[in-house]
């Protein structure tokens, strides 16, 4: 089996791709956004509940997409739930750097991080948009 593919499709990715966590819609939410990738038609809808202290109390997503985009969304929700918005923003930067191959500039994500599993995307540049779709949608939800 090809190494690049193994890197890209690690067990955790395939797992989250098939059985996404936090799938659905938050019962109470005060932020939301729809995202889509115009190149392939993939979609994601994100709902969030952010409390007065800027803590993400709840976050869920739904939509259709490839394993990479679904796994990325799933891992993102896991990662951000309970975190401060400011941390989430830093994470956004790190994550986009990671999948674009700028590993040297990471400040939070390290090899033990679940998000690190998406590192293999860097060798498939046209898939970066799949991996970042949920994250950009998250950014847009905050802008509301």
């Amino acid at each position: 089996m090809n190494e690049l593919l193994k890197e890209l499709y690690q067990e955790i990715i395939l797992d989250h791709g098939k059985e996404p966590r936090n799938f659905g819609e938050c019962e109470i939410h005060n932020k939301s956004a729809h995202g889509h990738n115009p190149l392939c038609g993939d979609k994601v809808s994100l709902t969030l509940f952010v409390d007065d202290d800027d803590i993400i109390k709840d976050i869920k997503f739904s939509g259709e997409g490839c394993a990479i985009s679904v796994a990325s969304a799933s891992l993102m929700t896991e990662k951000l739930k309970g975190k401060k918005l400011s941390f989430a923003e830093d994470m956004f930067k790190d994550f986009t750097d990671l999948v674009k191959g700028s590993e040297e500039s990471l400040s939070i994500i390290d090899e033990d991080d679940s998000l690190y599993a998406l590192k293999g995307v860097k060798d498939f540049p046209m898939r970066v948009k799949c991996a970042t779709l949920a994250w950009h949608t998250f950014k847009n939800a905050l802008k509301e």
Binding site: L14, L39, C40, G41, D42, A67, F124, C130
Partner: protein, 410 residues
């Protein structure tokens, strides 16, 4: 050139990119010709030659290089004219792409012949490039768009199409060859349009390099295609339009080269074809397209068609044998294009997997979102053939597809 069945073996040598290794080890299997065709050496060489020895702007200067460029540019127009059997070279307009050609027709046809409430017929399988220019008319001027249904086999439902025509129908814009199904339009559609006095634009993006084109036999009013899908360079497109229509319709873009006389108050326009070619055109690109047409003619359009038919038939049969694959549309009336999905595997995964095996296929909505919706999917994978593909490549593809399924569905 060799015209027997092994023809494609020799042809492959003409396309330098085909000897590329993907990821340094895998032979390239290029099954994405419907997105863009690869270029034969002779086209690349002639671009070279043009810039090294003959280049300058066209139509304006009187010096030698200006002559050499202009002759080549206008020669390309004649080659296109012959290629699609247009009556006059005035009917051949060079644009930047088929997309631009359609935008040009939509705007200027509306300007001359339509008003709010008039109707346009499209089909559910049109490419975005043959949708959005008409949506603009709807959203700006209040014309009405109707969509012809698509049958299970991937063709326009001719009866439904005919039923959509009313006295207000002014034009139908339809794909000559579907970029998702590979299906060719039923010839009845043109006659129906003729009979009802409805103009017809055929989107020939997928047909120009894969069928014999005769715009007079097709009875179309407009025919568009792109150079880059026809073994020519990027950055050049073609609009064919009937001379009387192009004469009556107003110009599209304004600028140098398309004028007659200009004062601060007034402007008159040049004769065809200059009227529709504002600004410095895609000079070397037009020449390159002309050379690509020469190349196709040398190989023989019939030979290309036969070869691609064989490939398509073989691939369709082989893929049909895989029970985990769904093909869209059926096997008859299918030309060089097969769209499919593997159950429970997204087209992106399929394409990335195949890529690592050296195989280039397209994944996505193929700029046909309404059709995807109609099919109930977000995206499909698509393989599409050019004259240079081989049966062996299809076998490689089939094996890879089986491996792909095994990789993702354990």
């Amino acid at each position: 050139m060799n015209k027997d069945k092994t023809l494609h073996k020799d042809i492959r040598k003409d396309f330098p990119i085909l000897s590329k290794k993907i990821l340094k080890t895998k032979d390239l299997v290029y099954f994405d010709t419907a997105a863009s065709a690869q270029k034969p050496q002779v086209v690349i060489d002639e671009l070279n030659q043009f810039y090294e020895s003959h280049y300058s702007n066209v139509s304006r200067g009187v010096h030698t290089l200006s002559v050499e460029s202009t002759l080549r540019y206008e020669d390309a127009r004649k080659k296109v004219q012959n290629f699609i059997n247009a009556k006059s070279e005035n009917e051949i307009i060079f644009t930047k792409s088929a997309t631009e050609s359609i935008n040009l027709v939509a705007q200027t046809f509306y300007d001359k012949y339509m008003s709010a409430g008039d109707e346009i017929i499209l089909s559910l399988m049109e490419h975005h490039s043959n949708l959005i220019p008409w949506y603009f008319l709807r959203d700006k001027y209040g014309v009405v768009i109707k969509f012809a249904n698509i049958t299970e086999s991937g063709e326009i439902d001719v009866n439904h199409f005919e039923s959509l025509i009313t006295p207000k129908t002014k034009i139908a814009a339809l794909t000559h060859l579907s970029n998702v199904y590979g299906s060719k339009i039923d010839e009845k559609v043109s006659s129906i349009c003729k009979r009802n006095n409805v103009a017809i634009l055929l989107d020939g993006c997928q047909s120009a390099a894969h069928l014999k084109i005769d715009v007079q036999k097709l009875e179309c009013d407009f025919f568009v295609f792109s150079g880059h899908k026809t073994y020519g360079p990027s950055g050049i497109g073609v609009l064919y339009g009937k001379e009387n229509l192009l004469n009556e319709m107003p110009p599209y873009q304004g600028g140098g080269g398309m004028i007659g006389e200009v004062t601060t108050n007034k402007v008159s326009f040049a004769e065809l074809p200059a009227k529709y070619e504002a600004g410095t055109p895609a000079i070397a690109e037009a020449h390159g397209l002309g050379i690509a047409i020469d190349y196709m003619n040398n190989i023989g359009i019939e030979n290309i068609i036969n070869h691609e038919e064989e490939l398509t038939k073989y691939a369709y049969e082989k893929i049909s044998e895989l029970d985990f694959v769904k093909i869209y549309g059926d096997g008859d009336n299918r030309n060089s294009i097969i769209s499919f999905n593997i159950e429970n595997i997204h087209s992106h995964e399929v394409s990335s997997f195949l890529d690592v095996e050296g195989i280039a296929v397209r994944a996505g909505h193929h700029c046909c979102q309404p059709l995807m919706k109609h099919l109930g999917v977000n995206s499909t994978s698509r393989l599409s053939f050019g004259m240079y593909n081989t049966i062996e490549e299809v076998d490689i593809f089939i094996n890879a597809l089986i491996k792909c399924k095994e990789f993702f569905i354990k």
